[in-house]
Symmetry: C2
Subunit: 506 residues, 2 copies
């Protein structure tokens, strides 16, 4: 058994040390679990996976609440072994996704900032066991988290029992980067006094009732590394459009060269966009985000970034090695918060965050689908995109104009699922260009989006739809019989492109 | 000329007194106007209407920003006389609506809490002239508003010139019910320190630069009275379902008998719902809303309501007479705020407001359309419903299950326009019943909504759609070819009901 008892400063816990296998036996059928982990960072590396193994041979089904996505295989194994009844508030795993779309697992997709509130409002998800990864235990028995805070504070508060997984792969020097505050339920909810990205408002650990702790487990498994493709021609073009737009905002005096705190969603496009700031004119940047990816550390290294606040650190293996081999270099510039504070409407609107998120598809009026394929099948969850898009100073959504050799246009007549309405989308950008939609009526938005963002192969086709609908009148002109014709054509003929069909007929 | 100079305590303004006709001449073609008025309350009664008259004979087109809707005929006359280039952030006028849907007027529909921020972010709506109704002028030249605050503080701040319309129909004792604070642009945005409905955080007047004032006009025209139909069987049933639900929440210990601050949208249904609280078990209620209707004053009279904060008072003629003939009775219990504070995400989430809003249609997954007919034609704007639905403690949406002798079902397979996504809708209620959607996956939501909220005439038809889609899989099962078939059938055959068609064929 991996063991490193000096990480436990609260001695009564020493009697509670168990193997992951033993601890996993504490979980009962129909339990509600609240587990640490946000975008693969700081999740349970052994107890939850051990429970998934149990479920292969036992009749066990549980509800799992997390911060966001868990590490490789955990959600997949839970799903594959039939261990999940319900899952929330986020997932991004291909196997789990399949189980969700085939109705084997119920999935509740939530704004990531709102899960903690939900637990205070309703009791149907009263947590039986919280499983929380820690880098160490304070002398009061409190938990020092690892690479994410996520929903762990509310899970620990709400839970009957707590299992702590001490992960010795992380240096103890991680202690200090967390800022934890548990918000009270209304009507006693307090002001969240975050005034800057680096405002500290709580404790560097999660306060818990030590009597709830039923097991302490040691592990030495690193976070599943992020795999992020390098920027390519498209993502670089998108990044450049955004930088150019922001430069103009600075020239016009609407922003300063340090802009406002940046948020970026997860994945290749968002990471590439943020990387672009490395060679920009901007300086003294800050981030108030939910996840920090490799690009954050590039920005630190380039001297562009002063401070980054988020709920997790999710980086590639090489970036992880860079950070943790020289952690003192970054430590004073980082803060990890509970996700109901990193994603709080109150703070995001006060700081005026510039939110940069990605879309699956957008429509001519600027509505955004972030989650569903063909309006039906879940891809990844909505995550925190809505928290930032609704409340930030600027809400930017990016996607490629086309994919699958041009058979799919990501700008469509009408999104088949709406995650963000036109009210919450200021800027749309593809590799083709950027549309600044602020203060525009829907029909103005449509013309600008078609002009600036749509791939040339689809421009006429989209304009034809718009003009036909426009002629019939309406604030947001649509022809309901044809609104999803691009989606159904893709399903039936394998392409959204009308010309191609015509060509094939000849 | 109506005149009542003692309402002006700042003497340099005495030289600026003009007739409405004279003041209306100050407005130039292509101007951007920022006008007071929120849900018909506290709007310009003479200058803006006089400008509309001018536009009948002159080539004048302006952009008009308001708080929300204006009094009878003002928006209609502006539209009819071709005086509007662009209108925002709200409208509810049949004539204007027609001009919007026929593309004669551009309309930007906004979350009512966000217009002030927009003016600080972009300069394309730099206000040339603000026209603000006042009950009096302080000795520093500041404006004491009448029955609404709305966006007047930001308009006055942003404007080059200000026209003040002193309306002597309102008693001077209105002074004192306003609480005005102008928020700074990010990164200097401050905490909004509202901790309770009755928190005072600003001044009882709008601070302005007296040098900007170009005209003072006297008027004596009352607010256009609200016309609210009495509660009927359906709205009473809806109200009772909500009361019963809230009683259960109290019984379960999740809320106390004073609940949390209430918000209610405008119109017959919302007013009836709120009236229902008069004979409820709840006590010591508070409101943190955007509009106060007759029901608020019924609740005061019944002793149920302690305090009400909003951005405007919009009541019927008889209610208006009751209030203003005995204003001292209500004064200490009322506060009117700028709409970016009444509708601030920060405050709504901190206080935990219970938001009750109405829908045009809802779908089986709980998405809400508040604004568009057949996905295309604008009815009323989104208003503040999104501010409350996203950020409140509970987000309740109500609508009748059917209308037009049953030819329209207000629960449809897929809403043809999305204003509020399923993430922001906790409770759906029709006269048939209530569905508590909190913590449910989409497929669970669908079964509950169909079971509890749908009219019996449409239950099988909706279940058939859902089951067919469900069999094909997906997190949010839809058949895109059929998702709008109810809407297109209504258009083509005059009814959404399949049975009726079958009957007619026989």
């Amino acid at each position: 058994m991996i063991n490193n008892k000096q990480r436990i400063k609260y001695f009564p816990y020493l009697d509670k040390i168990q193997t992951p296998e033993q601890a996993a036996l504490l979980i009962k059928n129909k339990d509600v679990l609240g587990v640490s982990g946000f975008t693969k960072a700081g999740d349970s590396k052994t107890v939850l996976p051990q429970f998934a193994k149990r479920a292969l041979h036992e009749d066990l089904k549980v509800t799992v609440l997390s911060g966001a996505s868990l590490g490789y295989d955990t959600d997949a194994d839970l799903a594959k072994n039939g261990a999940l009844y319900k899952r929330m508030p986020f997932q991004a795993d291909p196997t789990l996704r399949k189980s969700i779309n085939s109705h084997e697992v119920l999935y509740v997709d939530q704004h990531l900032g709102q899960t903690a509130d939900m637990l205070q409002k309703i009791d149907k998800f009263k947590i039986n066991i919280a499983i929380i990864e820690a880098v160490s235990i304070t002398d009061e028995g409190f938990i020092v988290p690892t690479t994410s805070v996520g929903n762990s504070p509310i899970f620990a508060d709400n839970a009957d029992q707590i299992i702590i997984e001490i992960n010795t792969t992380f240096p103890e020097s991680l202690a200090g980067i967390h800022d934890v505050k548990l918000l009270k339920k209304q009507p006693n909810r307090e002001i969240i006094p975050v005034l800057e990205s680096d405002s500290r408002i709580g404790d560097p650990y999660i306060r818990i009732d030590p009597n709830k702790v039923v097991a302490i487990v040691f592990t030495k498994v690193p976070d599943s590394p992020a795999v992020i493709a390098d920027p390519d021609e498209k993502t670089t073009a998108i990044s450049n459009h955004i930088l150019k737009f922001l430069e103009k905002e600075v020239e016009a005096g609407r922003l300063t060269e340090s802009l406002l705190p940046l948020q970026a969603g997860i994945g290749k496009t968002a990471n590439a966009i943020l990387s672009g700031f490395t060679n920009s004119k901007f300086k003294n940047l800050t981030m108030y985000s939910e996840v920090l990816q490799d690009s954050t550390f590039e920005l630190f290294d380039s001297g562009k970034l002063l401070f980054a606040s988020a709920s997790s650190i999710t980086v590639t293996e090489s970036c992880s090695n860079k950070i943790f081999s020289n952690f003192e270099k970054y430590k004073e510039k980082l803060l990890l918060r509970p996700q109901n504070i990193s994603n709080a409407a109150e703070v995001i609107s006060r700081l005026g965050v510039i939110g940069i998120n990605t879309a699956i598809e957008v429509d001519i009026y600027g509505n955004v689908n972030s989650t569903h394929i063909a309006g039906t099948k879940m891809m990844n969850g909505i995550g925190g995109s809505g928290d930032f898009a609704r409340n930030g100073y600027l809400s930017i959504f990016a996607c490629p104009s086309i994919s699958k050799e041009g058979r799919i246009s990501h700008v469509v007549p009408m999104v088949a699922h709406t995650d963000h309405t036109e009210h919450d989308v200021d800027i749309l950008v593809t590799e083709q260009g950027l549309a600044d939609l602020r203060g525009l009526a829907p029909v103005e938005r449509a013309r600008l989006i078609i002009e600036n963002c749509v791939h040339p192969d689809y421009k006429d086709q989209l304009l034809t739809y718009f003009e036909e609908a426009y002629a019939l009148g309406g604030q947001t002109p649509h022809i309901l019989e044809k609104a999803f014709s691009w989606h159904t054509m893709l399903k039936d003929k394998g392409t959204m492109k009308v010309e191609e069909l015509v060509d094939n007929l000849h």
